[in-house]
Amino acid sequence: MILDIIRTGFMNLRRDRGALMLSFIVPIAFFSIFAGIFGSRKGGTDPIHMVVVDEDRSEFSRRFVNALKGEAGLRVETVRQDPASAEQAVKAGDVSVAVILPKGFGAAPISFSHETVGARLQILNDSSDPIAAQVVFGLIQKAAMISMPDAMATEGTRMLDRYSGGLTPVQRARIDSSMAALRSHLDAPRDSERTDPAGGLSGGLIAADIRDVVGENKKNPLVAFYAAGIGVMFLLFSASAAGGAMLDEADNGTLDRILSSRVTMTTLLLGKLGYAALLGFLQLTVMFLWGAFAFRVELFRHLDGFLVMAIVTSLASASLGLCLAASCKTRAQLSSLTTLVVLVMSALGGSMVPRFIMPEFLQKIGFVTFNAWAIDGFTKIFWREEPVTHVWLQVVVLLGAAVVFFAVARRLARRWEVA
């Protein structure tokens, strides 16, 4: 019986070109537009959530860390004490950047030349947020100036000893020459921030190596976000439209006819849920296939994770769609409510703009939407390349949402059962 209801839904869909277009063509168009606009977007977070691991544990490194903590543009965490866990935090998306102060860093933290004297500072980065590492690098230089004036003086003296050899005219000339070179070096930002052959940043007071620990091989970092984000948003629209068919059926007496047959309301709702969920799953599949074809989303490498996330996301969307439909009395009412709920959920949940560039309080609010959970799950699979077992929390939340929404829809649908 449930299969018959699903079949009826698809038979109707096949004849409804508008619904077909809304289900498959419009989402792809939106996805392509967003991917085109934001695919190479440079963005940043403010403040940047970062972790600092102080392996050096010297006086200099302690002061340096404290100076970083005092930066308004940074939210510095120091609880992780080893580079591996810091790297894991970046990979998991818990922090945007990790900074490692290696042993020996404090011995000669400041360098006025391109030659690094002490151990080089390490910056671990998630390349989906390319600007964060650059901002952190800049603030590190500022922190160095604030926290290590003595180190700067020491380095200055060393430079003086090295280049002056006494205050003879020749030596003065050499110092002047060096200082002029330094000034010109500092005055020329592009020269001073050039990337060295090792992929790090030197030329500042503190030299650092920047390493992308997530997505270093991905060509178009934000596309995976948008495949999930836009997909979930349109899933919600089409799930609501599918649920709304019940309003038409109630209007034209078809619901009376169905419920006077052997079909009960629970059976009918399960059938509608099955149809909407299957439609949603197909939509996501088409979306990701298009993403794989046009934007190199690695669908086939993460097929298991995609299937798990697509199924639970489709179920949650379908349930919400039924819930919205059951709470409305007319199609027009449903249309307005759906537009409102879906757009707000999509905006908050990260379907329109990645949540990591939102202010932190908005990121937290986003968790009341299941867009956020769905996108997090897809992101873990496609961006962070985590195994499917790592999305268990997202799966549980989405399945829980599906059950709750269905239960509410069933309760609301009692008004159609008997009058």
């Binding site: 009826t8 004849r15 009376d256 006077s260 047959s261 052997r262």
Partner: protein, 305 residues
Amino acid sequence: MAPPLRIDSLAKSYGNRPALAGVSLEVAEGEILGLLGPNGAGKTTMIRCVVGRVVPSAGTIQVFGDPVGSGAARARIGYIPQEIALYGRLTAAENLGVFGRYNGLSGEALDTAMQSCLEWAGLQERAREPVMSFSGGMKRRLNMAAGLLHRPRLILLDEPTTGVDPQSRQRIYAMVEELRAQGVSVIYTTHYMEEAERLCDRVAIIDHGKIIAMGAQADLVRQSFGTRSELTVYCDDAADWAASMGGAPSAGGGSYRFTVTDPALEIAKILESARAKSIRVRDLTFKAPNLESVFLHLTGRELRE
């Protein structure tokens, strides 16, 4: 053996507004019972109670002895709603397939039922066309067919000719008569008197949620009017004269109604009196009482008010 339908003291209220106020009736095997009444009289509420779509406030309903809403009762009821309860984008055959499956049919049984219903509705040649392209009459016929796929023994037809042209209406009458010939029991709600007169073995006149009269058409007329007929005389400003002759002004004005038992004698007498009083008679009609007259007589209102 239990009758196809037995309703006892059925009542339903929406808030303080009673839609049904103690309806009792029984439908026999192979009988067509007409529910005649104006809009809002309670006909559709009663039908929806029988289908199980409305929970009565009081009273009982049994279908072939089974309580309404039970699986056995559902299997024996064919409900044809007032609206065109079909999927417009699906073809006639697809619609029948859908509703057949919802009623538990499958395979060969479903195919046979679909063919039979398409034939009954005269839509074999349009079976593969989407319903949205059908005329109103064709949609009505398919709407009826969709309720009969599982061969119900009690059919509830809720105003099946609403919005249908006269030709299609005749076709629907023929379809209902065919059902009677098959021994199926039918409850037929309508506010068209001529439908009830043509199709129904018995008629229940329902008004304000109550059955105010029930029986065969001839019996109802006889109970209300005996052998009396109605003469309407069209003339102006003749109230005093009409009253003196036992007449009463008609609802619309400009005419007066007289009840006559011996038409040949009494009509001549009324016309002679009018001539004597110099009253100019523009027109006159004479009709034997019918269900509409009965309704008017019992309620004081026209059937289609």
